[in-house]
Assembly symmetry: C2
Homo-oligomer: 463 residues x 2
Amino acid sequence: MKTVILALLSFSLFVMPGLSQPDTGAMVNRIFKEALTHQVAFENLRGLTGKCPGRISGTPAAAAAVEYTRQLLEALNPDTVWLQVVEVPHWIRGRQEKGMILSAKFGQMKVPVTALGTTPGTGPEGISAPVIEVSSPDEIRELGKTKIEGKIVFFNRPMDPELFNTFAAYGRAAGQRTRGPAIAARYGAVAAVVRSLTTRLDDIPHTGVSHFDEMEKKIPAVAVSTLGAEKLHRILRNDPDTRFYMFTGCRNAAPVKSFNVVGEIRGTTFPEQIITVGGHLDAWDTGEGAHDDGAGCVQAIEMIRIFRKLGIRPKHTIRAVMFMDEEIAQSGGKVYAAEALRKGEKHVLAMESDRGGFLPRGFGIGASDPELFSQFMSLKPYFSPWGINEFARGGGGTDIGPLRQQGTILISLVPDPQRYFDVHHSAADVFEAVNPRELELGAAAITSLIWLADQMDFSGQTK
Amino acid sequence: MKTVILALLSFSLFVMPGLSQPDTGAMVNRIFKEALTHQVAFENLRGLTGKCPGRISGTPAAAAAVEYTRQLLEALNPDTVWLQVVEVPHWIRGRQEKGMILSAKFGQMKVPVTALGTTPGTGPEGISAPVIEVSSPDEIRELGKTKIEGKIVFFNRPMDPELFNTFAAYGRAAGQRTRGPAIAARYGAVAAVVRSLTTRLDDIPHTGVSHFDEMEKKIPAVAVSTLGAEKLHRILRNDPDTRFYMFTGCRNAAPVKSFNVVGEIRGTTFPEQIITVGGHLDAWDTGEGAHDDGAGCVQAIEMIRIFRKLGIRPKHTIRAVMFMDEEIAQSGGKVYAAEALRKGEKHVLAMESDRGGFLPRGFGIGASDPELFSQFMSLKPYFSPWGINEFARGGGGTDIGPLRQQGTILISLVPDPQRYFDVHHSAADVFEAVNPRELELGAAAITSLIWLADQMDFSGQTK
């Protein structure tokens, strides 16, 4: 049989009310061309990374980033720009860390380390102790207190290079950093060394937060570069009596008053229905926070710029939000959602860009209403000419996540994931690692999706 | 009406004879995982770029690249490795170029320039002359001899940043470099300055070949960086009497004997039917030729390695070919096709990778036989899990192009084009600009497509 008969659901391409499908496509193309030609997001990222590197929440650099992006938004003259107060934790890295393998058999070898966020310092003398290598927090439980007590626990699980989606590989291995030190502490470990979460073999350590519950004992912990981890692994195998020496000068200070930065264009038809687009303003101090998440911030600002430049008056209220403190306590996202609830705001849609300023591949769409979901899916043909083809269920993000329980549709920009963990939380996350065309394609993708979504009817969807 | 009835051609997924569709998919996945885990192509590229930078055809560095890749292939122990003699042009860059804007009004300003391939040198004194700016070779014809004679012609057409496909933008602007100087010479110009072919605004000049027919007068010509071009444009607008000074020390020497490098695994069932996979070995000396086209070379070698590693005995004869002299006279590709014809070889399929070692998006498929074309199109589901979704008509390339008239199916690997012209023919085309995962995904895509194609029946297709 050479032909088959298929019954398909009718597929109608979403079009702007009052506009033909070609006109709708033409508008999307104008948005992309505006971003690619003028590359303003890229220039804003140069400014943000150049003027405000090291903007961990609570630091003066974070305050500078608040003021810098507030001014960028003000200059675009939207209807309102304001700061939303957020109390944030304040972890201070202090003096440059040291890490050293001490083997009676092979000698002393320095390895590159960086302290993990929220961990305490080692004290001026540092810590030296025997090392026990594990591949997961679970293994600690199996080994028990007798094997762990008084030791430095070395978590050495590599990220799986076989997975196309590096975020999935990160997800599987990240527990050793986020919870490993706390669990090691519970079993009497004096400190922890964690293999950096990257598939690259290099000398660059990757930091990140390590969570301790309020009542949990905190111990010093560092990330070691992947080559450093490989070295420690080899030395340990050949000399089980190997010790590790580490110094960290970090400490947790009192919480600090900080801000989310919000720029808003008021909607003409449904001003009370709010669409939020955001990234996070804070970043680890090891690099410049270019991909994580300067990119998401300048893309959100670029959306406001392109709306203004092309004279688009949205029907719904559109906000660009720079969330503060995604990296440590996620307080910016929590405050934003709590304030929305307190004020009775209707948040119909929120989009987050926090996977780097890389080539956009598609969107993760978290609309539970089947009609709205299929409307979003039907937008795909407008994006295909720009290489954006992957529309899938999903959607969310650390900062917009708290809005979910208010019935908000959550959408994520999904860039290609191959290069993200080369730079993530490390000294490699600098402006030069960002390609202007990839960043701007992402900004244009966000702007186009929001422009299209602004034509939709969300009245049945909000709680 | 909520449903429509569509009649579709039946779509049957291609499967390995004797293997189920899941098993076929599993084999493709094994190929991808092998490439991503061991990253041998990436390490080979480190070697090629580190040991053989500046490998313009005819140079000692090009000879080193021949020997380096021959040894890489030999170490994989395929059935045969051999060198195919190619006579290549030998253009020598000589001393570092100089470029300077000379304005009585604004002073003297150095700008970064690089000589274009095949152009003659300026002589030791250099050339200084008034400048006339044009946006295309056609404009020279309009201006005529009186406006051009004795001048340095400044071609200042930017690459269009609005196009998603940067190769299309390159194609539109490249004539000013490939033919501009020859046409300027015809109208009496003494030299030419060409705006670098990139959408980046920076200080890095991008070289490339400039063609002169045998009887055409040759004049010195340089590429100027895009920022240099912008500067020259502004100065000229405000001081039309501006002159330009340039020095180039290049010259054309006698042709040199060089080689294509070929590694072959003999087919078990159709040994006389040949499948070729290649990239080009020569590269401009401004950078290391990492993306252009070290990437294509090591990807072809990676295919041989993965076939050997996984114990795949192909039915057809499979060759990895490093073509020599793609950049200047394309002699390697011409010789390869001519030798195939002379020996009566049946080349059923040829694939080229010469668009950089970037994220693979898909393939351009040049199969005129509709049955074979649809077989190739039906392979797409095997590649989707690896982010490779764009299967389209097309296919070809400078090196495999001459095989077309022998009825060979031509296929191109199509990587994402956003970053290619950031580095193309410039000092930015270095090993560090290549991401190992992107490079290996490309190698795995090639290897998988060739493994799948090897199961097809080409007997009706060859002339």
